[in-house]
């Protein structure tokens, strides 16, 4: 019966073709509008972060460091909700590494208490803040002044290694919090504010260079986010790419939803860290903000499906949604997927609630922590289940192969059909 139903749906779609095409185009516009708003919110909160960092550098104090940390935490709320745009949109995916690359070998950047060079990464102990000149992959590098260009062009992915992360949110997070030395016990990184004090009060050396690095990283973050806001603007490349072909655009939405939920969040960021019992595997490992990173990833996925995003100023961007398209094709598939998305948010909220009450993500990873394992696996299982709902949505919208960015296999399949 399922095949027959599919046939009727497809035949019906041909008759009602133009109305359906309009609905599909409208849902894509909503998707692009949410992207533009969420990246604009990421930008405005990053600008506040940059100001707070400028204050910290000019007048270092415990309060100034705390204010910068709070600005960083706020900036993560809108940014994490944009992660759903990453995997379906090559323009975003190519850019993303500059702002949110993870995990990182932070010994590249500054002093560390553990970690350092490994078989996999010879530059894991470079410590550029303490090292004005060094040799990198056979090239002499002059790092006497730490500039955005040095970070972006020389240090980022140095030696063709993705663990060499020199820019973006996590580099800034490390420079504000420092390494979390508490393992799977309570507490985040405890970098002293005096790491930015100038003159005699400076701790851990090179405070001037550390400040220079932090400001360069904040400058770059703002510049990179400006690019992405523009890419989703009225004439932006990313908006054009996703709206050029409605079926390909819808596939991009669903690819982003499924890839973030399943392979990336449930797999790499949640299950792997749990199975390794390794606090270094938590996404925001310096600040212990991982519960929010996961929660707002989940919320971003739900936003694009329901076609509604609440901005950082409280206003709402909404419009015709993918959910409505799926409901028109098969109400049951839509209802199941909405229920799955809600169940995921509930599972991620449980993690967030426990973490905010003091049972942080890294404590959940401890060997033998049954409660922590149950919390994290609850999130993993919900994300895996919702991904099956996303696959169903792909089928009822008759979009073909969602996981392939190229169209080769679609072309091949079409050739076989002919």
């Amino acid at each position: 019966m399922y095949r027959l139903a599919l046939t009727l749906t497809a035949a019906g779609a041909c008759a009602a073709g133009s109305a359906m095409a309009q609905d599909r185009a409208a849902a894509l516009t909503t998707y692009a509008d949410i992207a533009e708003a969420a990246y604009a919110d990421s930008l405005s909160t990053a600008e506040r972060l940059k100001e707070a960092i400028a204050t910290l550098v000019e007048t270092p104090s415990p309060q100034a460091l705390q204010a910068a940390k709070e600005a960083w935490l706020q900036s993560r709320v809108p940014y994490q909700q944009t992660e759903v745009y990453r995997f379906g949109n090559p323009i975003v995916d190519d850019w993303e590494g500059k702002v949110n690359a993870w995990p990182l070998d932070e010994g590249l950047i500054d002093y560390v208490a553990f970690g350092g060079a490994t078989d996999e990464n010879a530059y894991g102990d470079l410590n550029v803040i303490a090292t004005p000149t060094f040799t990198l992959s056979g090239q002499e590098v002059d790092a006497s002044v730490i500039t955005p260009a040095l970070l972006e062009d020389t240090l980022q992915e140095a030696d063709a290694n993705e663990a060499n992360v020199a820019t973006g949110y996590h580099a800034i997070e490390f420079l504000l919090w420092g390494q979390d030395l508490n393992g799977t016990g309570p507490g985040a990184g405890q970098r002293p504010w005096t790491d930015y004090a100038q003159g005699e009060a400076c701790t851990n050396g090179n405070c001037d260079r550390r400040a220079e690095y932090l400001e360069a990283a904040a400058d770059l973050l703002v510049l990179d986010l400006q690019d992405m806001v523009a890419a989703w603007g009225a004439d932006g490349e990313a908006r054009k790419a996703v709206t050029a072909d409605t079926d390909a655009g819808l596939r991009a939405i669903l690819t982003g939803m499924g890839s973030l939920a399943y392979g990336e969040l449930a797999g790499q960021r949640m299950k792997l860290g749990l199975m390794l019992n390794d606090p270094e595997e938590e996404h925001d490992c310096f600040s212990d903000n991982t519960h929010n990173a996961a929660f707002y990833d989940g919320l971003g996925i739900r936003n694009v499906y329901l076609g509604s995003y609440t901005r950082v100023d409280g206003t709402v961007v909404e419009g015709p949604s993918l959910s409505e398209l799926v409901a028109a094709a098969d109400p049951e598939v839509d209802a199941l997927l909405r229920a799955d998305l809600d169940a995921t948010m509930e599972a991620l909220r449980r993690i967030k609630t426990a973490a905010e009450a003091g049972f942080s993500w890294d404590m959940m990873l401890a060997r033998g922590s049954d409660a922590g394992e149950a919390l994290i696996m609850g999130g993993v299982d919900a994300l895996v289940k919702q991904t099956r709902g996303v696959e169903r949505a792909v089928r009822v919208l008759d979009l073909g192969d969602v996981t392939l960015e190229g169209s080769d296999s679609l072309d091949n399949a079409a050739a076989v059909f002919e």
Partner: protein, 325 residues
């Protein structure tokens, strides 16, 4: 019109029963039985003599059996992260060396209790822990490392037995009853077909982008030290065994001849017929050429699976765990 044509083909040319039963009966269940049996033998061997010389042959046989099922990552292998605990690779941050080193240095008492060992980091469990322990630093009978080898082998055998039992007791039935009332895992028959089809494509992607792609690195920066299970000399063997298993699965899943797919698998296996067991040649132009040719042949097999078998079954691949970074 393309939609309509596609729908008609789906409706009329595809029998309702693709080879789900055949995949279960001829591929999955026998493969899981063999894996459980070989793992039990490994555990028994280690229990009676845990020295590296004694354990290595049983380890190699168990790893061979694992390669027959390592792509079957739904259901029992997905539950509780067992896949990672059985085969934690790739290990991009060197967690294996670090965690095993800590356990040995502190003589972690988890080796004395199967329950406690089941909670140990996956970096110190499964085949890749044994790859290091049996082939890296020599150890004495009666040493802590020797006990650790026994604990890893016993833990592996326990998991293999559980996975095999769960396939027989429940998950095979869940697949067979796809679309029937009460089955909330697979709401339609197509969902079961798609799930199995997705495993095929994912298996080929693992061979292409991880087993070959990681040691190949880039032309400027090859990474032969990243080859899978290189200490025990299994990198190429694993690709060959994986391709053989995936070919068997494709044939079982198809309900009509799939000549393009068969040919592509045969070509890939031919391309894998060279003498470089741990991909050391990734770093030199001649050796690299062979790896690239093999990678390309696997890519061709992926396209054949998508274009020919996928079209025949009326499904496309779903999401897999490699999506993302």
């Amino acid at each position: 019109m393309k939609h309509l044509a596609a729908a008609l083909v789906l409706c009329c040319a595809t029998p309702a029963v693709a080879g789900v039963d055949e995949v279960i009966d001829t591929h999955i269940l026998p493969g899981m039985d063999a894996f459980a049996e070989a793992s039990a033998k490994l555990s028994d061997t280690a229990a009676s003599d845990c020295t590296a010389e004694a354990v290595r042959p049983a380890y190699q046989s168990a790893f061979d059996a694992w390669m027959g099922v390592s792509h079957l990552t739904i259901g029992p292998l997905e539950q509780g992260g067992r896949l990672l605990a059985i085969a934690f690779w790739p290990d991009a941050k060197g967690a294996g060396a670090r965690t095993l080193g800590q356990m040995i240095a502190t003589e972690d008492p988890a080796v004395d209790s199967p329950e406690a060992f089941a909670d140990v980091s996956v970096a110190a469990r499964g085949f890749f822990a044994l790859d290091r322990l049996l082939y890296e630093d020599p150890y004495e009978a009666g040493s802590y490392t020797c006990k650790l080898v026994q604990a890893v082998a016993a833990d592996l055998s326990r998991m293999a037995g559980e996975v095999d039992a769960e396939w027989h007791d429940s998950f095979a039935e869940t697949l067979r009853t796809a679309g029937e009332p009460g089955n909330d895992r697979f709401l339609t028959r197509d969902e079961a077909v798609q799930a199995l089809f997705t495993l095929l494509g994912t298996g080929l992607e693992v061979d292409h982008s991880q087993r070959l792609g990681r040691p190949m690195g880039t032309f400027e920066r090859p990474r032969p030290e990243r080859a899978e299970a290189r200490r025990s000399g299994r990198s190429l063997r694993n690709v060959v065994l994986s391709l053989q298993a995936l070919r068997r699965m494709a044939d079982a899943l198809a309900d009509q001849p799939i000549p393009q797919t068969d040919e592509a698998f045969a070509n890939a296996l031919d391309a894998a017929d060279f003498d470089d067991p741990v991909f050391a040649g990734a770093a030199d132009p001649m050796g690299r050429f062979k790896l690239e040719a093999l990678q390309q042949a696997i890519d061709t097999a992926s396209r054949a699976v998508d274009g020919e078998l996928g079209a025949q079954l009326g499904v496309t691949a779903g999401f897999n765990s490699l999506d993302g970074d």
